[in-house]
């Protein structure tokens, strides 16, 4: 009997994230990585201009920008194995630890999905690759990262709830899956 595929395997199977995508991302990296600091500046400009996000970043913007650029750079390093996955999950855990809500990760990914296509168009032309294919590769990678980060968020929040209440993960899952009360 074949083993049940992992959640990541199912995600990448349905999204189509492939070794070809990995190759495109490595090529794109040559042209995109130098552009990442400017993208990060724009992103943190948005965060500082928003009343909800500003308190989470002001006073340590420069160190956060460095971390953000390092993360973005890794996206184009071409290594998407277990180590990469573990690092994305760790990002989720750290976000929970410092009290950053999932909304901010979603907003960050949304910013990148909006900002990257223009950069990809320029980069793809430079390296002679199809713009749509390159854009698809980047978007699929961002989806994978968001899934890993969100999953880690969820797991870390459940772990903290377990620690605070003494309830097992299994009990919490049973509580969550209770049928809604009929009015």
């Amino acid at each position: 009997m074949s083993e049940k595929p992992s959640d990541i395997q199912t995600l990448t199977h349905i999204s189509g994230f492939s070794s070809e995508d990995e190759e495109h991302l490595r090529h794109l990296g040559q042209y995109l990585v130098p552009r990442l600091p400017e993208l990060t500046e724009r992103f943190y400009g948005r965060l500082l201009a928003d009343d909800r996000t500003r308190p989470h970043v002001e006073g340590r913007v420069e160190s956060l920008k460095k971390t953000h650029i390092a993360w973005l750079t890794e996206l184009f390093a071409g290594d998407y194995g277990e180590t990469f996955m573990v690092r994305q999950r760790r990002i989720g855990e750290v976000h929970v630890a410092v009290g950053i809500p999932p909304l901010f990760v979603a907003a960050s990914m949304s910013f990148l999905r909006g900002a990257f296509p223009e950069e990809i168009e320029i980069a793809a032309r430079e390296i002679g690759e199809p713009i749509g294919v390159c854009t698809g590769a980047v978007l699929r990678l961002l989806d994978l990262c968001q899934y890993l980060i969100d999953s880690a968020y969820e797991a870390e929040r459940m772990r903290r709830l377990t620690a605070a209440t003494g309830m097992s993960i299994a009990l919490l899952e049973n509580l969550i899956s209770l049928r809604p009360l009929r009015n």
């Binding site: 209440t165 003494g166 309830m167 299994a170 009990l171 049973n174 509580l175 209770l178 049928r179």
Partner: protein, 120 residues
Amino acid sequence: MREEMIRSVVLDLNNSSADIEASAIISTDGLVIASALSSTMDEDRVGAMAAAMLSLGDRTAAELARGELEQVMIKGDQGYVLLIHAGPDAVLSVIVRKEGKLGLVFLDANRAAKAVAALL
């Protein structure tokens, strides 16, 4: 076989006192092991909530330096719910009528919890 014996403990508990309306043995994950609940009670909800209350009770007793949790008692204007550990992996939940003699109920419930713990 073991399940029947545990259910027998639950039924005996219910029959031991007119003050006990219903009872159940629930795993610490919130799944019902054996029950004698009324048909209006949702077994899944009763199980999950009872396990949750006892877990919180354990944690609260520890946090507030009250020692090992002995029981959790919920008092409503229509009666009581009593929750007791039945060994490390199960919870006894006892639903008691408003006028119930709690001293006797506690005795019977503790005996039943010990009997179930020995079976598990």
